[in-house]
Amino acid sequence: MITIENLQKSFGKQAVLKGISLEFARPGITAILGPNGSGKTTLIKSILGMALPEKGRIRFQGKDIRGGWAYRRQIDYLPQIARFPENLTVRELLRMIRDLRGGQPDANRLIRLFALEPYLDKRLGALSGGTRQKANIVQALMYDSPVVILDEPTSGLDPVAMIRLKELLREEKEKGKHILVTTHIMSFVEEMADEVVFLLEGHIHFQGGLKELKEKYNAASLERAIANILQEGKLGFKANGHGAKAARLVLKAL
């Protein structure tokens, strides 16, 4: 579905992605993990064509995405920060997305699922962060696209909405979709993900199933496995003398 070859991207002097090659071929939920600043969002934005890579190639269904835009019709995207034009109401926002993308989305089911009915005619600027995130989820998932990309979908959600979101993602997965999620919540990954991609310092440190990850890093839980990866990274850091501090920072960030 999505193939990434030797993707490189830097912002100014800071190299964020240093040659990433990845393939999302099998349907299911893939969690993209890594400490803050490891390049998760940049990777997602490169797939969406929002960040333009310096080197490397991204193919979507076999076609190079450079300069293209129509392929985005096949992608549902949930951005990390849910900020919309403040003066529009939720209903107008959903109508607008439908207007821009065309097709026949099913928003009503999601509106019911996340109990958004009372907020439909409220201005987006007047909504709380959690409610805005729910509206964000509805706008992202009301389409039936084969690829779903979620950047921190759980932020600001209350426990009920969180359970609903997980149910929804399971349903989507059953339909054979490719779902890419970035998150910092390890229990969410453990419960939902089929595959994990771990980014560290702009490289892919691990790609594979949850079980493999735990086995490879000799850990009983995902959290432990990731701590072990970072410990391993710490040994690598030591060469340049900033090891312990860098590893502490990374652990804190997670």
Partner: protein, 260 residues
């Protein structure tokens, strides 16, 4: 693009500031007409205000709108829409909202005052036309600056500086140059130099139409002398059009290459 334009316009049409902007013109124009005495006097006073205020507000609004809708722009960028269409749509949304506020704010009092039966209608139309041009030119410049600067404070500062340059500093430098080189023939220089400033150009355009030589200033007089009124107007209008197109082209160039 028109869909983005529609929603930007829709969003802005609910913004309080657009109404305050319109209401300001409404009050100002009404008081100039009924208290100041006469259409032509009102047009000249309005001209002086519009030439300074329209660029300032368009610059502020353009920069503010761009920075405020950044996250939303990111959402739009993830939709199946061409990049340049998103930014053109937003820019045209801002510029046309401002132009409509101006049209209603200035237009309504003039209509009530009976501009349609007055011989001054063409002068008034040129005033409005210039207001539209300045709204579009300066919101495009503002969008261009905001697109190039991630840092809001820097973007704001730069945009205000550009406005200050065209509205105030440029004239000062221009006068300085004229007095320093007064021994040389300066006609070509004067015409050339005023072409580089959309605010000056607009002033010349209105004054040529009003045909008030006392207010025309050096450049106005030179343009009238060398090109004649009609040709001078056509020329300044053409260059104004160029002024509107150039920053829009810049928006497209920057937008296509930018990372979000």
């Amino acid at each position: 693009m028109f869909k983005i334009l529609k929603y930007s316009f829709y969003d802005l049409s609910r913004s309080r500031w657009i109404y305050i902007y319109g209401a300001f013109y409404l009050l100002l124009t009404a008081s100039l007409l009924w208290l100041g005495g006469g259409v032509s006097k009102a047009i000249i006073s309005l001209m002086n205000i519009i030439l300074v205020l329209v660029p300032l507000i368009a610059t502020m609004f353009g920069v503010m709108y761009y920075y405020n809708s950044r996250e939303f722009t990111e959402l739009l960028l993830a939709q199946p829409i061409r990049r340049s269409h998103i930014f053109f749509g937003q820019y045209l949304g801002v510029a046309s909202s401002l132009a409509i506020s101006l049209l209603l704010g200035v237009g309504l009092p003039f209509v009530l005052y009976g501009i349609f039966t007055s011989p001054e209608i063409w002068n008034f139309s040129v005033l409005l036309l210039v207001g539209f041009f300045l709204s579009f030119i300066f919101s495009a410049v503002a969008f261009f600056i905001a697109l190039r600067n991630e840092n809001r404070i820097k973007g704001f500062g730069l945009a205000i500086l550009v406005w200050l340059f065209f509205a105030v500093i440029y004239d000062g430098l221009f006068l300085l140059a004229l007095s320093l080189f007064s021994d040389y023939p300066l006609e070509t220089f004067a015409i050339g130099a005023s072409m580089f400033n959309p605010i000056d150009l607009s002033r010349i355009l209105i004054l040529l139409k009003l045909d008030i030589s006392a207010l025309m200033g050096y450049t106005g007089a030179v343009i009238q002398k060398f090109l004649g009124t009609m040709m001078g107007m056509a020329c300044s209008l053409g260059v104004l059009l160029l002024w509107a197109v150039l920053p829009a082209w810049g928006i497209k160039r920057v937008a296509v290459r930018k990372d979000f």
